[in-house]
Amino acid sequence: MRTILYDVHCSLGGTMVDFGGYDMPLWYPSGAVKEHLAVLGGAGLFDTSHMAVLLVEGAGVRKFLNYAVTKEISDLKVGRAGYGLILDERGFAVDDTIVYPLGEERFGLVVNAGMSGKVIEHLKKVPGGSGFTYVDLADKIAKLDLQGPKSYEIMRGLVAGPEKVFEKLPYFTFKGDFDLAKSAVKLTDGTPILLSRTGYTGELGFEIFLPLDKARELWLKIVDAGARFGLIPCGLAARDSLRAGAVLPLSHQDIGHWHFVNTPWPWALPLSPEGKFTKDFHGRAELEKVKDSADHTLPFVGFDPRKVDEKEAKVMLADQPVGTILTVVADMAIGRIDGKVVGLASPDKPEGWTPKGLVCGFVKVSKNLAPGTPIALKDSRRQLKAEIVSDIRPGRTARRPLK
């Protein structure tokens, strides 16, 4: 399949690959390293129209979704977004999602490429899920992700009435409606959008949902308006290295057909400070059963940019294999100074310092390892030193106030 921007990617010289059934740009001629750095230093623009938007409507839908999605959404107000998991009865991930309450009986769910059909089929079978209206907006809505510290300055000039739109728009809030005809948020040319202060890079930015037939025009406008801020179009490779450094999971790679428990994303689960579940949700009983025996997913950082082949590599703890690798990428915006991980956005980075990049990602291991635990990543070619960490790329801007 192709997104509405396929021709734009080809004309820019994008290297196209299959992702979730869509032909998507892996990188453009500027290359994945420059694209990664552009998002950290200025801004980058991603076509994310391959992702799917679902509308779920009906009386009692909030209560149902609060059972079908792990995130506590019983009190999630219209205008706030919540990240959660859609689990099956075994506690395995069907997909991850951002939940957008649009009204008391109307919710939007954004899920991954090619997942809308599977998610709808799953939700209808979850107890209590059969009586709602499910609408797949894949053929009506395009999405562009504008990400990077300069995103706000770029987006301000493209939105009608920016003072009002950007007022009180912190991380994980949105304005507008997926029923775009009803949306009060508009571009300067009158195009209705849903503007979400979210993204997949760890940096300040927006996900912009808009009518399919307006996507090309907005893409060109953002590229034009962003040029003086160093904005360049970015592909999937930069998206992957940015999200890994931001400790965000890739669905079907870092979360998938295994128990969603003991992960670096505990905020996706309804947990009390004591680690107890605070609501009932689909898959909860199984997660409670396996919590003490299930594998642990943990972030790691290495000491140089070298990688191993994640398909065959083992995670070694004192020469004993303890697990496998889920994600391994090089984040080229970080390096080590006196052993400490420093990033291009770190306030304490030395003047004129250029990072050499570090390997990072996620491992899935049989025991909980504390941050700082030394591990090795071993494939048939090499054995790399790395350590378990609690965070990867320092100085991320996603939560920075808009000003």
Partner: protein, 133 residues
Amino acid sequence: MKELSELNLPSNVKYHEEHEWVSQSAPFRLGISDFAQDALGALTFVELPEVGAKLVRGEEFGTLESTKSVSPLISPVNGTVKAVNEAIADNPDLVNSDPYGEGWIIEIEMAASELEAMLDVAAYKKLLEESAH
């Protein structure tokens, strides 16, 4: 990706099926072709062999890495590593920006006859055309 017609394929080097080039006369330098650097994407790391290391035709002698992948460097010849390009260890981007010049990878001590098994530019272009179909 670049179209075949956009690739820079100089005729003064010999090519290998694994997308490396070697200069036609001493000093014998080795690098990767424009096709290879374009397909691999922006390089993040080059693992170079030690000076003095033996090279065996068809065997791995180093790696090229992008943010996501690790690709082996396969020797097209038998010989010995005479020198390595330290500049690309510090700046792997040179392999992308100037694959036949500043982005050379190693210099090899070898017999000129080692080149006989390699491809000239016409044969290499043909190989690329065939693999594109």
